[in-house]
Symmetry: C2
Subunit: 340 residues, 2 copies
Amino acid sequence: MSAGIAPLVLLPGEGLEVLDQTLLPREERRLRLDTVEGLCEAIRSLRVRGAPLLGLCGAAGMALAATERGTGEASLREAARELTATRPTAVDLGAAVRGALEAALAADAARRETLLWERAEGMLARQRAVDGALAANGAPLLRGAVLTHCNTGALATGGLGTALAVIVEAHRRGLVDRCYATETRPLLQGARLTAWELQRAGVPATLLADTAAASLVASGRVAAVITGADRIAANGDVANKVGTYGLALMAARHAIPFYVAAPMTTVDLACPDGAAIPIEFREAAEVGGFGETRWAPAGIEAYNPAFDVTPADLVTAIITERGVARPPYGVALEELAARP
Amino acid sequence: MSAGIAPLVLLPGEGLEVLDQTLLPREERRLRLDTVEGLCEAIRSLRVRGAPLLGLCGAAGMALAATERGTGEASLREAARELTATRPTAVDLGAAVRGALEAALAADAARRETLLWERAEGMLARQRAVDGALAANGAPLLRGAVLTHCNTGALATGGLGTALAVIVEAHRRGLVDRCYATETRPLLQGARLTAWELQRAGVPATLLADTAAASLVASGRVAAVITGADRIAANGDVANKVGTYGLALMAARHAIPFYVAAPMTTVDLACPDGAAIPIEFREAAEVGGFGETRWAPAGIEAYNPAFDVTPADLVTAIITERGVARPPYGVALEELAARP
């Protein structure tokens, strides 16, 4: 099922290998890391990114610390501090590091190195299993050509991906014959990463400016839209990469399905609806330019939310590793959450 | 009413001055042109662009030819060929050059130079008058903060602009207090040109990625959306810069008005509806990069329409220099077209 993209490879007792995502799609360079400091640099420089993948890096980093620096408590605590400090706001990273540290300290010093590597391997295997189940649940829903947004592939989760894994699996089954991908301004994850993953997976791919999506949907070229989610409220409102809401409006107008594919960890039953989801605003410099290049005049203000909220009434179905939820979501999501 | 931006200045009997739009917004450089060849280079290199402005350049170019090369028939015909060949698909350019040539040849050779300069001056004055009437008709419709797309200012028409002139006039009247402008991928006219024109006009301006528009409208920050039009069908369907249709869907969902501002020359009563409007597709290289910079992997296909069609049911009103049309557009546009 995998497209063969492994953004993180564990080499237990030795180190790890990461794909340098900052060089994509121009160059596919794998970095061998055998020091905690090297891994910290890779995280800080965004060579690895994506919340689930950063969680995996946290677990792997603690195993690497045991191999490189020994398993003394002071040494492990120092490594945990260094790893967490690389991206202080990355919740998955911090949680994985903390979990690994606590598990290690609860064991005999002699067992710690093996335990930490096994823990990282288990986490990677679970990520692949969840992504695989999600892809298998979603694939039968797709037909013909589909439109997606941002990057939701292996590069984002470290496993197989979410929405993009569904597309790749549906293509493998002969159900999907083309994937249209938005550029996804301002950070261009669609143009840089999704386009590359689709090429690697052998899925015929077409890129479009975000502005061209309504024209594409109106033209009848796509049979469905499918995206990931950052957070799903109890009523089915979906927070996801900014631009998602517009795509859902276009799908509704032209009566094609709008699917969301995300793991159950994304479903937040404590959050009643989209209005309760806090939206991160990012720095103005991301708008009106990219990287070192500026197009806009100096001093221009910017409106730059990282996410938007798609109201549940526009969402045809929510695809998870446990099954597919359909409206009314209040009931359907609770039912999925209650499954073993 | 003018923001003081003059992309084309006529210097009768001497030459002309154009603002080099390729250097905006980084640098505001005016080029003095006193040869037909110099003007041709400026057109070919997109230093001047925008259909109405190219029409003005065509008329000005023929006047320049008379001053530089004399008013003999062979010489004028050769200049007309050179000017038209710079942008063979630019309808306004070709029509203005042809009109000027025919008018000149119908007059005595001794009168031709004066006649051609007067013709160019008349055309520029008419452009300003049409844009001014359009701005005056539209301004009372706007309040608070508005959202616009692409560039529809003086840089596009050579006069005052269309939708952007309405916004600037509404700001001058104290009705509008902020303009949000989309970047407008793939050519980024919003980030490069509209942001600069708004700053020059003293209108508080905020730039956003095209993906952020639905979030902006949902947030309640804007009271209306207003764009230009490339062609308006008899039923009120509007072809305009790609991305317009998506904005109209967002406005409709959140019950704010979606206005179109365009001169009567844009209204094509012979065209029954949007389905009859041919859509230009542009080269794939515009998507997945900008200028010399590429973000997307090599070999990726692209879907790159220049325009999209907004169905008439999403258009609150069409603002022209003759008045404001409201649904049903079939009747309203015919009525405007019949006015003297």
